[in-house]
Assembly symmetry: C2
Homo-oligomer: 481 residues x 2
Amino acid sequence: MPQLGLLHGRAWAVLFGQLRRPPGAVCIRAVHSHSQGTRDLSPQQMVVREKILDMVVSCFKRHGAKGLDTPAFELKETLTEKYGEDSGLIYDLKDQGGELLSLRYDLTVPFARYLAMNKVKKMKRYHVGKVWRRESPTIAQGRYREFCQCDFDIAGQFDPMIPDAECLKIMCEILSGLQLGDFLIKVNDRRILDGIFAVCGVPESKFHAICSSVDKLDKMSWKDVRHEMVAKKGLAAEIADRIGDYVQCHGGVSLVKQMFQDPRLSQNKQALEGLGDLKLLFEYLTLFGIAEKISFDLSLARGLDYYTGVIYEAVLLQTPAHAEEEPLNVGSVAAGGRYDGLVGMFDPKGHNVPCVGLSIGVERIFSIVEQRMKTFGEKIRTTETQVFVATPQKNFLQERLKLIAELWDAGIKAELMYKNNPKLLTQLHYCENMGIPLVVIIGEQELKEGVIKLRSVASREEVAITRENLVAEIQKRLSES
Amino acid sequence: MPQLGLLHGRAWAVLFGQLRRPPGAVCIRAVHSHSQGTRDLSPQQMVVREKILDMVVSCFKRHGAKGLDTPAFELKETLTEKYGEDSGLIYDLKDQGGELLSLRYDLTVPFARYLAMNKVKKMKRYHVGKVWRRESPTIAQGRYREFCQCDFDIAGQFDPMIPDAECLKIMCEILSGLQLGDFLIKVNDRRILDGIFAVCGVPESKFHAICSSVDKLDKMSWKDVRHEMVAKKGLAAEIADRIGDYVQCHGGVSLVKQMFQDPRLSQNKQALEGLGDLKLLFEYLTLFGIAEKISFDLSLARGLDYYTGVIYEAVLLQTPAHAEEEPLNVGSVAAGGRYDGLVGMFDPKGHNVPCVGLSIGVERIFSIVEQRMKTFGEKIRTTETQVFVATPQKNFLQERLKLIAELWDAGIKAELMYKNNPKLLTQLHYCENMGIPLVVIIGEQELKEGVIKLRSVASREEVAITRENLVAEIQKRLSES
């Protein structure tokens, strides 16, 4: 018996578990589950996911992006000092000798590391991959510790706001294409925020901390955020009030023009740069036909340290159109911005490559689409099987195996029952349940006559076809349907 | 200055690095790289990978498999005692509070955990995903610490050898389809191996250790394996010699029949079961038309603990056909077997679900295909862009942006230069370099006449097309090419 003081957390849990186990329950071994905050994706979920990812990737390719893949873990130092207050959420690997490693927290930092390491000065790439964050798992809100991100980024020195406008166009194309209901993209600029902090009198050492507070305005009221600034972050109340006057503003391009006239902000060089870029951005967005989807929102701050210019975040404005669906709070579904200083952090000489990009939060989109399909009772086929090879007779396994090999070799998606003597009804039921459209049936009579019966599962019609013509006939039927 | 005794590996490396740095070299900060034994995949590599994975997945779908995804990490206890001597290669996550986690070592154990956790008794699934092993990275041989596996498994209680035969058929279809040259699939059965060990006089406590030695016969001579058995694992020399008589045998179905007649082996119940199943397997493989690709090889042992019946491994017989290519030692490219006891290890009541499956070692296949493409100087397009929007004039950015948005909205893959005033020659060169087939050109004259010039990059022919007809004309051209 170990001393109580030496019991670590796990041992306590075991003891506690034994105490709480109801009398009579015998537990030979524990049920293994996946780890907290992660999940398995069932075949149904995989089908939904595959459709959404296909749609996202085809949009990225439409905009000329190349694919790129990076390892799941990076050197720990690569991730250090990139994520501000969120750095505590990084998963570290155990030191088992060798390098100190961490699971990637996003796809942006590995991309910047790749650019610096390979001295790439210009690249438009997409990356679909998992990232890991040690968040408190609140799965009801679609927050996981392992989740998939779809990123598109443009690296390179270009004329201002052209790549930035394309990123917003891509977000619009994807969100419209997925038919998630109405959406809005909030836009702001880190330089405008810094300008506001400066003209309001925030000490420069507090810019990051105050920026983090502003970032909470999508979840907290201004009153609570103001309280945090004053009580927790030691800001003078009158400075907080001045900030409040700004960060509660949002509007279209007219707000940009209004801010240009603002007596205090127009004195700040950084803010003017940001406002100038936003004005240009709105011009391009108008040419792209998406300006009405964009809102200049001074409360948008984005949590991550590495942004240096324009930032944006797409939010769904309402739950999908139909009133009978349960409302689902999904918040932001895509976000991004400009990070001109990140690549330089990885380059031995500090050479920078300006970058702008976006990330689609597909997990939230999965939840919405899944919920919608449940509401409408949509049935999803989890296999693509086209033909089932069946028999009404006993001892026909050999014939079935020969026949199905012919189908597979012709590229036809086919299944059979892994039994020597299955019942015909069981075989036909399986086809109906799985949505398999065609059945080929071989029995004694067919063998004698040198034919195969081809049955349509939907109409239950059967026709006899010679063995030589079977593959061609199946291919014809499949191409028609 | 820390005491020398307190310096850990990293600090030593820094000191050592400073000593070795050539005079005059100034290093402001380190070049960040990916971690040892992992790699980034460049856009070229991604194109090759995507083609290979598409081909593998379409084969899995042809055989009726559903998709499934599991998290990158599992509870540490889920992976414990599954991998025999290789358990030391598992990556653990740092204990940051909460559960003890490990990165998955393969896709098989998470699949078995999924089946038990969800009480699934029958399932045919595929899974393409990364796995992680702390191997000594010998990248020259295509061995990485992070690599992709493509798994197909059939779970359920069925009549013997039908799913097993389908697994071998799938391996043949994939290896033939990828045109990797000639290949052979070695087949054996764990029960036959155990039978051999028993009749040769190996104590049962040494079965696993001796099986691990036999497993090395693909890399070591019998002499060296025998030495390991006798000197390191304490086996009597005459027992080792008896084993040697068996494990050096390989052949077709005739060897199965010969083993049935073997005076010692035919006395062992387990071996007889294995031989009976192999006989049946060969029958089915003949019906599938692949028997000549299969070799009954008594030296095949497979490293993993969880196999309980038939096991198999596909090896390439020669480097790709052409003599001018450098030879590449790739060893086994696919493997698998039957594991009837694994699911029960995760079920609270120990209920088992028999399983059989296979895993395609795609990293090695990537190396071969990449090598082949290099040898033949094949050029790979890394983007799918169909149309480039160009201008010969200054101040035409607005028109270009309007035009490209029209193309994107019509689903056409299009790019433009992110510059206000790019040179026409630069724009056309880019199209040639990137293999973009079409260019639309808009300038003053076109704007005045209400037309767009459509240029074929290959033929350099240009025609004027009215703006209204542009999308339709582009779609027509693309569908013809």
